[in-house]
C-alpha cells in the first residue's frame, strides 16, 4: 500500500519532538479523519529555518509526510518553506495512495500554521501566507459521491 520511502519515514520518523521556546508552533487537525499534526519551527534572524520538529496523531501516511515535510523545510528560508506543498511532499515520498492524499495536506497546513504563528509573534507579514484554517476540509481529491 505504501511506498518504501513512506515506510522508511514511518518507521524511522525524522525530527520527532518539541522545540523549547520555538519561534513558531502550528497545530492543525483534519476534520475528515480526526487526525492532528503539530509542527515546531526554530527560525533565526535571517528568516532561515534552523530546526523543525513535529508530533503527529495520525495514520502511517500522516507520520511519514510530517517527517518528510520537516526534512524539506529544514535549512530553508521562510519563502522557500512556503513552496513545500503537499504535492512536493508526496513526490519526495514516491507517492501516496489516493485515499491518503489528504494526510499530506496536514503537513502543508501545519507548516503554514507554524509560520503564521511566527509572523504573529514577531509582528511581521509573510508574503503569500494566508491564515491557515485549523480544520482542513479539502475539496479536491474527493471521490465522486454517487448513490449506491
Amino acid at each position: 500500500m505504501y511506498s518504501e520511502k513512506v515506510m522508511d519515514h514511518f518507521q524511522n520518523p525524522r525530527n520527532v519532538g518539541e522545540i523549547e521556546n520555538a519561534s513558531g508552533v502550528g497545530t492543525v487537525g483534519n476534520a475528515k479523519c480526526g487526525d492532528i499534526m503539530r509542527i515546531y519551527l526554530d527560525i533565526d534572524e535571517n528568516q532561515i529555518i534552523k530546526d523543525c520538529k513535529f508530533k503527529t496523531f495520525g495514520c502511517g501516511a500522516a507520520v511519514a509526510t510530517s517527517s518528510m515535510a520537516t526534512e524539506l523545510v529544514k535549512g530553508k528560508t521562510i519563502q522557500e518553506a512556503l513552496q513545500v506543498t503537499n504535492k512536493a511532499v508526496m513526490e519526495a515520498l514516491d507517492g501516496l495512495p489516493p485515499v491518503k492524499v489528504h494526510c499530506s495536506l496536514l503537513a502543508e497546513e501545519a507548516i503554514h500554521a507554524a509560520l503564521w504563528d511566527y509572523a504573529e509573534k514577531h509582528g511581521i507579514k509573510i508574503e503569500g501566507l494566508t491564515k491557515p484554517k485549523s480544520d482542513i476540509h479539502e475539496g479536491e481529491e474527493e471521490e465522486e459521491e454517487e448513490e449506491y
Binding site: D35, V99, Y148
Partner: protein
C-alpha cells in the same frame, strides 16, 4: 516479514486443511451440475444435501430451511430486502441497531429510499441493546426485527433469546446476523425464536464466497437472485458445490470442537485482556467483559491512532485490525465504537485482536511486548499525549 501471529480471525480465517481436502474432489472429479440428471451431477447433489444437513444441525434447523448464498452480505441483503417486499401489505417498519454490520446498515439505508421506516436502536456503553427500548419501538407496522447475534468489532453478544421472545409475542419476524456467532456460541433457532439467520463460511475456517440464510418454514420469502430453480427456486445460480461442501465440513468441525476450543479461547482472551489493561496505561477494553465472543479482544489506546499501530504490529509479524476505518475506503471512525460512546480520537486508537484455533499463550505474550513498545513509541510521537502530559504537570504545580 511474514505474518507469524494472525489475530484477525473475525475478518476472515484460514481455510482448514480438512475443509480444503473435502472440497478438492468437487473441482476436478465430481464437478457435474447438481441440477442435472446424470450420475456425476447426482454426486454433486448428494454432497450438497450432506452439507445442508451438517449445517442445519448446528442451529437446530431443518435441512430445507438452509439456503446457500455467496456469503454473509448477500444473506443479510436478502433477509431485509425480501422481507420488506413480501410483507409490504403488513407494514414498512424495521427495527435494527446502530451497531450492525454495514451489510445490514447500508441495506437499511437503501430500503429507506424505497419507503421503509427504520428504527436504529441505541446500545449501552458495552454494546448491548435495551430490551425495553426494543419493546417500545414495536408498532403495528413493524414487520421485522434484525439484530446481530454478536458484534464483529467489540464482540458483544446480544440477548438473542429475549429478543426472539419479544418478537414472537408481538408477531414480528426476527432476523439475526450470526456471521460472527455461528460456530462460536450455541445457537438454537427454535429455542431462540429466530426466523432468519445469516452466516458466512470463511469466518469458521471454511472457504470464502459461500454463506447461508436460514429461513424458517412458513416465513413468506421472495427471491433475491432470480433465475434458475436452485435452492428450492429461491436463489438462482449454479451451485458452488466445493464451497458448499467445504462449508458443511467447517460447520461440523466448528460445532464439534466448540466447547473445548472456546473454553481455551476464553482463557487466553481473559488472560490477555487483564495483562493489557494492567501493563499499558490509558487503555480501555471495548465491549462487554462477559457477554463477549470467546475470541474477541478490542482495546482503545488513548493518544494514538490505529493505523500506525496496525502497520507497526504487522512489521513485527502480527496481524490485527483497527476501529480506525482509514483502511476500508472510508475515513470515519467505526460507527460501532462511536455508538458505545467513545469520542472520535479515542475510537481512532482502537485495536481489535481476534483469536484463532492455533494461537498460543506465547503468541500473546509476544504480542503484548510488541504492543507495549509500539504504543510507547507512538505516544512519543503524539501531540495529544504531549498536551496531556503538559496538563498533568501543570495541574501538579
Amino acid at each position: 516479514m511474514k505474518t507469524r501471529i494472525y489475530l484477525d480471525n473475525a475478518a476472515t480465517t484460514k481455510t482448514s486443511q480438512e475443509v480444503v481436502d473435502a472440497m478438492l474432489p468437487y473441482f476436478t472429479e465430481d464437478y457435474g451440475n447438481a441440477s442435472s440428471i446424470y450420475e456425476i451431477g447426482q454426486r454433486s447433489r448428494e454432497a450438497i444435501t450432506k452439507a445442508r444437513e451438517q449445517i442445519a444441525q448446528v442451529i437446530g434447523a431443518k435441512t430445507e430451511e438452509i439456503y446457500f448464498t455467496a456469503g454473509g452480505s448477500e444473506a443479510d441483503n436478502w433477509a431485509l430486502k425480501a422481507t420488506f417486499e413480501a410483507y409490504e401489505g403488513k407494514g414498512n417498519h424495521i427495527i435494527t441497531t446502530k451497531i450492525e454490520h454495514h451489510a445490514i446498515l447500508h441495506t437499511c439505508e437503501y430500503l429507506e429510499k424505497k419507503g421503509a421506516r427504520i428504527t436504529y436502536l441505541d446500545v449501552d456503553e458495552n454494546g448491548l441493546v435495551d430490551l425495553e427500548e426494543l419493546q417500545k419501538a414495536i408498532c403495528p407496522e413493524t414487520i421485522l426485527i434484525s439484530i446481530m447475534f454478536a458484534n464483529n468489532e467489540i464482540g458483544t453478544i446480544e440477548p438473542i433469546k429475549e429478543i426472539g421472545m419479544i418478537a414472537k409475542e408481538h408477531g414480528v419476524l426476527f432476523h439475526t446476523d450470526a456471521v460472527q456467532a455461528f460456530g462460536q456460541v450455541p445457537i438454537d433457532v427454535d429455542d431462540m425464536n429466530i426466523d432468519m439467520l445469516s452466516s458466512s463460511a470463511h469466518k469458521i475456517n471454511g472457504p470464502k464466497g459461500i454463506g447461508f440464510l436460514y429461513i424458517r418454514k412458513g416465513v413468506k420469502i421472495r427471491s433475491f437472485v432470480h433465475g434458475g430453480a436452485q435452492e428450492r427456486k429461491r436463489r438462482a445460480g449454479t451451485e458452488n458445490v466445493p464451497g458448499i461442501v467445504g462449508y458443511g465440513v467447517a460447520a461440523k468441525r466448528a460445532a464439534e470442537t466448540m466447547e473445548e476450543r472456546t473454553k481455551k479461547e476464553r482463557e487466553l482472551r481473559d488472560y490477555f485482556i487483564q495483562r493489557v489493561l494492567e501493563e499499558v496505561p490509558y487503555t480501555k477494553l471495548n465491549g462487554d467483559p462477559v457477554k463477549r465472543l470467546p475470541n474477541n479482544m478490542n482495546f482503545s489506546f488513548r493518544f494514538i491512532e490505529g493505523e500506525s499501530l496496525l502497520i507497526m504490529l504487522d512489521m513485527k509479524g502480527i496481524a490485527g485490525s483497527s476501529g480506525s476505518a482509514c483502511t476500508s475506503g472510508s475515513l470515519d471512525p467505526s460507527h460501532v465504537l462511536l455508538s458505545i460512546g467513545l469520542p472520535h480520537e479515542i475510537a481512532h486508537g482502537s485495536l481489535r485482536l481476534t483469536l484463532g484455533e492455533d494461537i498460543t499463550k506465547e503468541d500473546l505474550d509476544y504480542t503484548l511486548e510488541q504492543i507495549k513498545e509500539i504504543v510507547g513509541r507512538l505516544r512519543e510521537l503524539s501531540p495529544l499525549y504531549e498536551d496531556f502530559v503538559r496538563k498533568q504537570k501543570n495541574s501538579k504545580n
